[in-house]
């Protein structure tokens, strides 16, 4: 019998070995695959088990975390949610993340390996780092001024610092409170459905994700192209432009808002925003030059990240002459984001140089040690410095004695350009009111701020819809806020 007992014992040993091998299979070989399975909630629980890092504006956090005591423990909170929503985005336990919450998620959630004190430390201790903070370039006062200026009307404001590319304000209206999406209860689902179903699209970041026909504000680019290409040598020389201007190859005639544009010089045509002059100028410059200049200003670039992606502003390079004429006054297929137009204005203010805009100054650990900084951004020459100097002069004139007098700030040099963009089938929609500008305080060495404002539904009589009436005051408020800031 002893022999058979030994055989039975061998059988039990086999069972033991099978269990040990199976345990090693599950816990070592397949461990990673199981851990990464999306149905495994452990990663999610760990992610929300710590307070999320904060997004800072002007040194103070505009976000926070709330301990719910639930399985997914910490929920995102926002101070002034609607004001900063286009920048922060939302961080939802149900619907993921967007904008800075999305692009900076690894730092905010603490999963970025750069937050680790020593390499492999977390793998060894099985711990997670506390979430790091994201310091933005925003100017608190400018952001507030922009949002208040929009006052609930559909539209957007983008402001940058010309010399550096720092984004100072990025407002979009109507906005929403991202805190409504933070948690995971049924109310979040309802808020999500409501926000997505809203015809006004409150979750759309109009400053970077919506393109508009730039209208007359695009004349800055056309003027730059004409000066750079040598088509205009003297801004005060008459341009030999008819009024009305018949689009080449068609019988359509183009008119102006104001009278007396015939044969005006570039200076005067810019000041009074003459469509006929700039349409003819664009055709004279030619498609190749116009496209090259637009591209130098940042049009047709889909790779811009600030760090979230910016919608591509377009200047169609495959147009015929009639279409080119319209494209040159910011109509037809020409479309731009407010941030793109702020960049155009900044290029003029900064001697023709464009600093790529950015929104994150630096990221830090939760106790303030710097993890990464924006560093120096690539620089691009959009036009000759001489061209920029002349355009600066032209833009300043628009504010002192042209269509943009509403943007004037006492004691500061302000340059601007108004725009009223037609859109819709047969141009039936309410026109978009544009204003792009820059400002230099009397003690500043260089322009401190460049702004672009667009207001979609400026529902008023035609005369007031122009950028000068609706958009310019918003731009002025933002510029004043920046010029008055001490930093």
């Amino acid at each position: 019998m002893a022999r058979y007992i030994r055989h039975a014992a061998c059988f039990c040993t086999l069972l033991l070995l099978a269990l040990l091998v199976n345990a090693a299979r599950v816990q070592v070989v397949q461990a990673r695959a199981h851990g990464e399975n999306p149905a495994n909630r452990r990663e999610t629980i760990a992610r929300y088990g710590r307070e999320r890092g904060d997004i800072l504006v002007g040194g103070r956090p505009v976000t926070g975390s709330r301990d719910t005591g639930e399985q997914l423990r910490y929920e995102r909170t926002y101070t002034d949610g609607p004001l900063y929503a286009p920048v922060t985005g939302f961080a939802s336990q149900e619907y993921g993340t967007s904008f800075l919450e999305h692009t900076e998620d690894s730092v905010l959630s603490g999963s970025d390996p750069l937050l680790t004190p020593f390499p492999l430390w977390n793998d060894f201790t099985r711990s997670r780092n506390p979430g790091g903070n994201v310091v933005t370039t925003l100017n608190r006062a400018a952001q507030k001024a922009a949002f208040r200026g929009l006052g609930g009307r559909k539209g957007a404001v983008a402001a940058v610092e010309p010399a550096t590319g720092r984004v100072l304000a990025l407002a979009s209206s109507p906005s929403y409170d991202p805190a409504a999406l933070s948690g995971n209860d049924p109310r979040v689902g309802r808020a999500w459905a409501r926000l997505n179903g809203d015809v006004d699209k409150p979750m759309l970041n109009r400053a970077v994700r919506q393109t508009y026909p730039p209208g007359s504000t695009f004349k800055v680019v056309t003027a730059a192209a004409a000066l750079d290409a040598g088509v205009i040598k003297d801004v005060d020389a008459p341009t030999d432009s008819p009024e009305p201007y018949t689009l080449p190859g068609t019988t359509t005639s183009l008119t102006n808002e104001s009278e007396g544009c015939e044969d005006l010089s570039l200076r005067e045509a810019f000041r009074w925003s003459c469509n006929t002059v700039f349409a003819k100028l664009g055709v004279k410059v030619g498609v190749r030059h116009m496209t090259a200049t637009a591209r130098a200003f940042g049009f047709n670039d889909h790779s811009l990240r600030i760090p979230f992606s910016v919608a591509r502003s377009t200047f169609d390079p495959t147009v015929d002459k009639a279409q080119l004429a319209l494209s040159s006054i910011g109509q037809y297929n020409t479309r731009a984001t407010p941030l793109q137009m702020a960049t155009v204005s900044a290029a003029v203010a900064n001697g023709g140089q464009i600093r790529t805009p950015y929104l994150v100054e630096r990221t830090t650990t939760d106790d303030g040690d710097t993890v990464a900084t924006a560093g120096s951004r690539p620089v691009r020459q959009a036009m000759y410095p001489a061209t920029a100097a002349r355009l600066k002069e032209l833009m300043a004139q628009v504010v002192t004695e042209g269509t943009g007098t509403n943007a004037a700030i006492p004691g500061a040099v302000v340059g601007g350009k108004t725009g009223t963009a037609q859109h819709g089938i047969g141009n039936a929609g309410t026109p978009y009111a544009w204003f792009v500008s820059w400002a230099q305080g009397e003690r500043d060495m260089e322009p401190k701020v460049a702004v672009a404002v667009v207001v979609e539904d400026a529902s008023a009589v035609r005369g007031d819809i122009t950028g000068g009436g609706v958009a310019a005051p918003i731009a002025r408020a933002v510029m004043e806020a920046v010029l008055n800031s001490r930093y």
Partner: protein, 453 residues
Amino acid sequence: MTKAGTTVAPAETSAPSVRLPRRRGIELALIVLAVLLSVYGYCAVGLAKNGSVPPGAAGYGAGLGVLALIAHGAVRLRAPYADPLLLPIGVLLNGLGLVLIYRLDLETPGDRAAPTQLVWSTVGVTLFIVVVLMLRDHRVLQRYAYVCVAAALVLLTLPILFPSVNGARIWIRIAGFSIQPGEFAKVLLAVFFAAYLATNRNALAFSGRRLWGLQLPTGRVLGPLLTIWLISVGVLVLERDLGTSLLFFGLFVVLLYVATGLTGWIALGLLLAAVGAFAVGWLEPHVHIRVQDWLDPFASIEAGLGPNQLAQSLFAFAAGGVLGTGLGLGHSILIGFAAKSDFILATAGEELGLAGLAAIFLLYALLVERGYRAGLALRDPFGRLLAIGLASIVALQVFVIAGGVGGLIPLTGMAMPFLAQGGSSVVTNWAIVALLIRVSDSARDQYDGKETP
């Protein structure tokens, strides 16, 4: 035996030096270690979850310690030659089980299982003490073979009269306590199988006809055995408790092989098992689903229904990795229903890691090995078969449930010995350890220096 010949010369011829050391001191030391480990685990859970030592730590340790020491006293008194490893292993596994259940209780504040489990552990240890004190010689049990089998059948049939719980009809509820009579039936059936096979093994092995190289026993010998086995398995299929069914079948085959040494039995047994498993797996939807889950644990995820229990169990094991997350720091409660009972091993796997899991498996292996060792050392066939049977119950049960929750074999509901929540199971396991203590005491007491126990 010690009772005989206390007076004259024969006592001097068998030299006192061949008597084995009793090793009760080792047992005591190991028990202290087991209790300390359990208390440490209890404190680790509290520190991880609340940042403080749980208020009941001292009481818990004292309670477990006192129980273990009384049991140790009983062994010292009535089974001084017993194997010194059996009791400490039982204490450690039971203590660890309490820690794991307490740990899971913290996740389900409305449903506390640890206090009840502690009460049942006390009942179990009391039964252990009673068995060790009252049962002076295991051979007494041989006389009650048919009483045992009758009792086993009654216990197995009883739950049919009660409503089914969670798809299985294996519980009876009396005064708020639910009892699983099938658990007790395991020990009784082991006693019966051992007694019957010890008596009839020669008849089984050598009488009857040979057919295709198989030695078929006469119907007179085989009849009762097969009948009883069929009845018990039939009852279990009716009750839909396939884990226990599998366990009984395995026990039956192992004991039959050990008793007769006929490999034909194994072949026949495996064939029967294969046919039975195939039939049940195909016909019974409850079992069919389990087989499907085993073949593809993530099918429900791909179907968009979220992970099922087995998938959650695998996630828990995987989350543990080699060293585990640490007690109190895992998320095995995601398994949901039965996390404290059938799936308790997943918590051990997640929080103690592969290292801890392997340690637990080795503790069980050690328990089984000590049972087998006692079986080898014993002279009487009944004792041998009883020891092998009891040890095999533990081995098979651990394999069926650990393999089930680990995705090695289809999952069948069964309690992990000592670890899992379940009063009947804990009591039964303490009875098994008590009987093994008794048998090993006899084995080492009879030692004559010829065969190593």
